[in-house]
């Protein structure tokens, strides 16, 4: 019983994760400029990764693999904002203007 619950929840979590990744990919493809695309990529890195790793953790139970999976998760959580930020930062630095509807906002 518990097994099947865990199994189903893991499946659900995996599907959720893949959904997020899919949406993120669409976002990367669809959104208009770098800055907005960073959000989409952030989505893949956060929600997508998190759910998929959660699903796999549930699959593997309590074991070393879970620990490693969690490490991966932590690592991606840790590095994703850095790359995102640095990319955006550079783009800004090199004078790339984001598409905004800002009116009267000072930069």
């Amino acid at each position: 019983m518990i097994d099947s619950i865990i199994n189903y929840s893991s499946i659900a979590s995996l599907i959720l994760g893949i959904l997020f990744i899919l949406i993120g990919s669409i976002g990367i493809l669809r959104l208009p400029d770098v800055f907005s695309r960073i959000h989409a990529s952030g989505m893949i890195d956060t929600a997508g990764t998190a759910f998929i790793i959660l699903g796999m953790c549930l699959q593997s139970g309590i074991s070393l693999i879970t620990a490693k999976l969690i490490f991966i998760g932590i690592f991606i959580f840790f590095t994703s904002p850095i790359t995102g930020h640095v990319t955006a930062n550079l783009a800004r630095k090199k004078g790339l203007k984001p598409i905004t509807n800002n009116k009267g906002k000072t930069l």
């Binding site: 840790f78 590095t79 904002p81 850095i82 930020h85 640095v86 930062n89």
Partner: protein, 143 residues
């Protein structure tokens, strides 16, 4: 790269990456990995450090001379393990007589040898990075 976030995060990541590299090094017997991959991972940590904090700072941790020495030492270690086998009366690179039993001998041999590979690869990668990073695109063209 004068970026606060990057600097702080590099500080955080540096040590775990090296430890992970060493983990890969010593668990090559049980899972995927081994000297080569470990060397690359450890070198990656150094390269990250050098990229974020500058090569000069990296040279405090890993001076050029030490780097070169370790580079040679790794390969030498490998060759030397082989020569030990040779002196013990076995063919080159035979680890059978290194330990008390054949199996333990093999195990010790493999561990040492992998360590040698790791040392070399790590230091070669660092050396490559140093060489590229230190290269000066000066005005003197013909040298």
């Amino acid at each position: 790269m004068n970026n606060l976030i990057l600097k702080v995060c590099t500080k955080v990541l540096f040590t775990p990456i090296i430890l992970f590299g060493l983990y890969v090094q010593f668990h090559g017997d049980f899972g995927p990995g081994g000297g080569f991959q470990a060397g690359v991972i450890v070198a990656a940590a150094f390269i990250l450090y050098a990229m974020v904090f500058g090569v000069d700072k990296c040279k405090i941790i890993m001076p050029t001379k030490l780097n070169f020495f370790l580079l040679v030492l790794g390969a030498f270690l490998y060759g030397f393990v082989g020569i030990v086998g040779l002196i013990l009366g076995e063919p080159y690179l035979s680890y059978d007589l290194l330990g008390s039993t054949k199996q333990s001998g093999q195990h010790i041999g493999i561990l040492l040898v992998e360590f040698g590979v790791g040392l070399t690869v790590c230091n070669v990668m660092i050396c490559l990075f140093y060489s590229f990073a230190n290269f000066k695109f000066g005005s003197n063209k013909n040298d």
